[in-house]
Amino acid sequence: MATAEAIETGEQSTPGGHGHGDHDHPEWLAHHFDNADQQFDAGKLGIWLFLAQEVLFFTGLFVAYAVYRANHPEVFVGASKFLNPTLGALNTIVLLASSLAIAWAVRAAQRNEQKLMMWLHIFTLACAGLFMGVKVVEYSYKFDEGLYWAGSFAPTALVDGEGLNAQLPWVFVGSMLVGGLVMFGSWLMERFQSAAGVAIAAVGWTVMAYVFGSALAGTTVSGYHSSQVAAADAAALDAQNAAEAAEEAAAAPADGADAADAVVAEQDAELAAEKASKAAAASGRAASAIWSAGMVSFMTGVVTVLFTAVGCAAMYWFTTCFRGDRHAWGAVGLGLGGCIVGMAVGIVVARGVQLSTAHHGDDHAAHGDGHAGDHSSASHDSHAVGTSHEEAPHSEVGHSEDGHSEDEPQEKDSPGNAAPVAGFGATAATDGKPPVVEGAVTQGNFFSIYFAMTGVHALHIFAGIAVIAWIIGRIARGDFSPDFYGPVEFVGLYWHLVDLVWIYLFPLLYLIH
């Protein structure tokens, strides 16, 4: 079992080089330790130092959160309404359950309950998958509603049957299929040590690679596409503004000269302005649409190949790690397959919650709050009159929806389309120009912080899935006993920390009021 220790300590072990047979210590005890306790305590100290680093690392993100929230409390209250507390609470409980399972698994290791230890770890992986499934649903809804990070933030109304969330049922079917294939392949591998098992699992990985690849490509490209459209519209607006300036210049000397000429010139300029702006917008949109379609297929291909390669490399690594031990192999496959199936379950549950609560209830109310209600009253007034900045932050929403798209019901009552507010609503030049107020960036900043914090946390979940899968393989291989279970406990401590971070993230992001 020299390889096992080598993995853990990073030590290069050459077969036969050390002459393990000569020693009278157990094979899991590394050379540089006097006894089991010393090895265990050193390992534990090491993992605690690592966790300390993790806490400080996350603290950086919490500082960003605290500073922005201190500066813009009202933005945080408004923006957090876009998050679904039920899903946050669900994920909290899922993580707590997995923490319980891991703590219980350490107890099982101490009491030499091998089977129980194994199943508790597989349960933990399923919980991790469920957590990620809920995250997938949450992120796809955020993207569909245009709730991106600062810079790309452009809220739009959710359209039934369109966008990423409409793809979720297929992602569910895909993950069930993939999870099933991986589990079945692993079982074949374990039961018959059959190469067909590897092939079937590889097919599973490829399907998963395709599903993730197309989702990823769709997300990034559609995000880029919408930003391109926004840019095209902005260019159009610029053209219009420029033309209007010309128009005004043309109209200016009209005082002294022929009034009729001036009117004609003005109308000409107006027409030109409109044409220029429409042309700019249309060409920008068309170019971006063609580009997007090509880009989606290209990226899907690249990501599929990459993911398949990574998946097969990981499988190869696992096979070499547990060479000759089909039980270990089968168990790892079972765990990872269970994780993917857990994700499918998470997607179904979270989408159900999202459809029953957010979509038809709260979230639309929140939309009303965030968009139409606030910016119709505040944006133009505060912009033109310059009222105190407490009212101002909402005005950016009005600006960022500069598309004035016809398919958004709440846009209808926005001041851009509605009757001009007495006195200053009519000036087209001020409409659409970014009002210089602090709110222009802050709501996007909330989502920058949201994505950074939850995204980095999700990366930790992925890392946790990988190390727990490794532990599962070692459990199946029979590495652990009441005398030697350090790795089980250390990986468990890491998993608890991931839970600890979420314990703070949940109320700080989802429950602001």
Binding site: V55, A89, R107, T427, V436, H496, P507
Partner: protein, 122 residues
């Protein structure tokens, strides 16, 4: 084999801890529907109660699930020192923010005035 036996957490303790954690999660979620600031009449109470509940949950996880209560004190000390430095980090950043808040407000106001002045009158 081990010179000293490691503490084995009773199953009842593990499940009781899990129960408490779930109960606290439900409590903190329910608090989102109550305006504690208005109820008590002190502004800013809510965030501290929320953070307090989160900290109790974190302590339960650290002490029981992560075994700190029966572990070597030094491991717990590492965590405490880390949290201390984290607190320093956050509080200094917030002090700095508070220090310059007036200037930032002023800057934004100036910018707004400037923007209005530059906007051609309709």
């Amino acid at each position: 084999m081990s010179a000293h036996a490691h503490h084995v957490t009773p199953l009842a303790t593990l499940f009781a801890t899990f129960g408490a954690l779930v109960a606290l999660t439900v409590l903190t979620s329910a608090m989102a529907y109550v305006n504690l600031d208005e109820l008590i009449g002190i502004s800013g109470v809510d965030i501290w109660v929320t953070l307090g509940i989160a900290t109790v949950k974190a302590a339960l996880v650290a002490l029981i699930f992560m075994h700190l209560v029966h572990d070597k004190a030094f491991n717990g000390l590492i965590l405490l020192f880390t949290l201390g430095f984290a607190a320093l980090f956050i509080s200094f950043a917030l002090m700095d923010t508070g220090q310059y808040e007036d200037q930032i407000d002023q800057y934004i106001e100036d910018k707004q005035q400037q923007e209005i002045a530059e906007t051609p009158a309709a």
